[in-house]
């Protein structure tokens, strides 16, 4: 079964989906499964600048802590505050309810450099 094809992917397992002039970012089911039970998500504050190739936060699970990477530059327009009380949303619904931030993009063409669903599937051996 493949990942959703309506979005772009980073090697480090973050998905990027365009909604109007915003880019919604989360992590894939594969990444969520690898992390095991997620216990904490460090969210950036709204208005913070993020840059393509940089980290915008961290996700902690019982086993490990990992950086969350961003594939586009811009400004954080919204963060998923539900994750503060219910980080397990990422494990349960990573492609939808478990989204992490929305970025107002400064250069939407950066998305072209990311992988499509098929390329990401190939990377994770799906």
């Amino acid at each position: 079964m493949g990942v959703p094809t309506d979005r772009k992917y980073l090697k480090s397992h973050e998905w990027h989906k365009v909604e109007g002039d915003l880019c919604v970012i989360g992590i894939t089911q594969f990444a969520a499964d690898e992390l095991t039970d997620i216990t904490f998500v460090e969210l950036p504050s709204v208005g913070k600048e993020v840059s393509a190739g940089g980290a915008f936060g961290q996700v902690e699970s019982v086993k490990s802590t990992s950086d969350l990477m961003c594939g586009v530059s811009g400004v954080v327009a919204e963060a998923n505050n539900k994750l503060s009380d219910a980080p397990e949303l990422i494990n349960n619904d990573p492609f939808s309810g478990g989204w992490i931030i929305k970025v107002k993009m400064s250069d939407p063409s950066q998305l072209d450099k990311l992988m499509d669903g098929a390329a990401y599937d190939a990377q994770i051996g799906g």
Binding site: T36, D37, T39, F40, E42, Q58, E60, V62, K63, S64, T65, P87
Partner: protein, 365 residues
């Protein structure tokens, strides 16, 4: 990588496998938190066959173990087990082990990652002694069945056992033959729960795993498989040290809070160094920490008192039972009193942490 005889069972159950001390072992099946909670409320089975199982026979078997162990092995009676450290001359911990006395032999269970090192250490110090060491790690399975429902479930799943399970006392064991298979059952574990650890031949071990985890129908509680991930969070809540985290060759038993497994008057490798540390008092002590907020402190995170670095985290997790972020750390002895407020540097952010008494979790008797 080495595999236990239960490897195919883990694959069939869809376990996620990782390298642990050179063994390909299950870290989780259904999920670490679920497995943790099931162990605290019902019963879980863990494959711990990667741990070393070394048997000692011969006239000098006890003499050798008393030479390498911090505990007085002569005092471990038949049918009893004793936790001990094995140290170097400086008192640094080479491994933590459990020694059990049978009628005709002694058993040492050691950590998987230290088995080769311990075998070499034993060989060096047994020169000239009449002792035969048999490593049965590969030919036997060891499973831990842990949790409050364990004793009932074990009895109901394995009928006509040739003895009464509940007559085995904590840190005691029985051995014998069942269905023609040689086995040993210990009332011990590494989870903070009541439970059993069983050693038996490979083939029989696979069958016993299947029998214990067989679905008892919707109404019945069952023994569920649990991996090393849950084993780690369970032992951490129970305040039990793990080699490579709380214990290593630069730490001594006194600093590790394990003075109770040391014969302070004894004559064994490291005894003089340990006596000196005991007399002077350890510079650092192992403590429990409860953190504010939900961040987890990992191994090597620096513990601060004001602006001074006074210690280092050895293990940390989000405790499923307490719903809090907990950690164990070595801190300067002056700051080790329960109630002391310290802080931990978690990747640049200071998180307040209170020293608490270990263990974090203690089961109701």
């Amino acid at each position: 990588m080495l595999q236990t005889a239960l490897y195919k069972t883990h694959k069939r159950l869809g376990a996620r496998l990782i390298d642990f001390g050179g063994w390909e072992m299950p870290v989780m099946y259904a999920g670490i938190t679920d497995e943790h909670v099931h162990t605290r409320t019902a019963s879980s089975i863990f494959d711990v066959s990667h741990m070393g199982r070394l048997y000692f026979t011969g006239a000098d078997a006890e003499k050798l173990l008393d030479r390498v162990c911090t505990r007085n092995i002569a005092k471990v009676k038949v049918g009893r087990c004793g936790y001990s450290h094995v140290c170097n001359e400086r008192g640094g911990i080479l491994d933590d082990v459990i020694v059990s006395r049978y009628e005709d032999r002694l058993l040492m269970v050691c950590n998987a990652s230290n088995r080769e090192k311990i075998l070499a250490h034993l060989k060096t110090h047994s020169a000239g002694m009449k002792v035969d060491i048999k490593d049965q790690t590969m030919s036997t399975i060891m499973v831990a069945v842990q949790g409050p429902a364990t004793m009932d479930l074990f009895t109901s799943h394995l009928d006509k056992l040739p003895f009464k399970l509940d007559e085995i006392k904590r840190y005691g064991f029985v051995s014998g033959s069942y269905w023609g298979v040689q086995f040993s059952i210990f009332r011990s574990g590494y989870t903070g729960e009541d439970g059993l650890e069983v050693i038996l031949p490979n083939m029989a071990g696979v069958l016993v795993w299947d029998r214990l985890t067989a679905d008892g129908g919707a109404e019945r509680v069952t023994v569920k498989p649990a991996g090393l991930g849950a084993r780690d969070t369970l032992r951490l809540e129970a305040g039990m040290p793990l080699y490579g985290h709380e214990l290593n060759e630069n730490i001594d038993p006194i600093s590790a809070g394990c003075g109770w497994c040391v014969d302070i008057e004894g004559d064994y490798i490291g005894a003089d160094a340990i006596r000196e540390i005991h007399k002077a008092g350890p510079r650092r002590k192992l403590v429990g920490l409860e953190l504010d907020g939900k961040r987890i402190a990992r191994q090597e995170a620096v513990v601060m008192c004001g602006d001074d670095a006074i210690g280092e985290v050895t293990s940390g997790t989000m405790s499923p039972t307490l719903g809090r972020s907990i950690a164990m750390a070595y801190v300067d002895s002056e700051q080790a009193e329960p109630g002391t407020t310290l802080s931990i540097d978690i990747r640049g952010t200071r998180i307040d942490a209170n020293v608490v008494k270990l263990p974090f979790y203690k089961r109701a008797e």
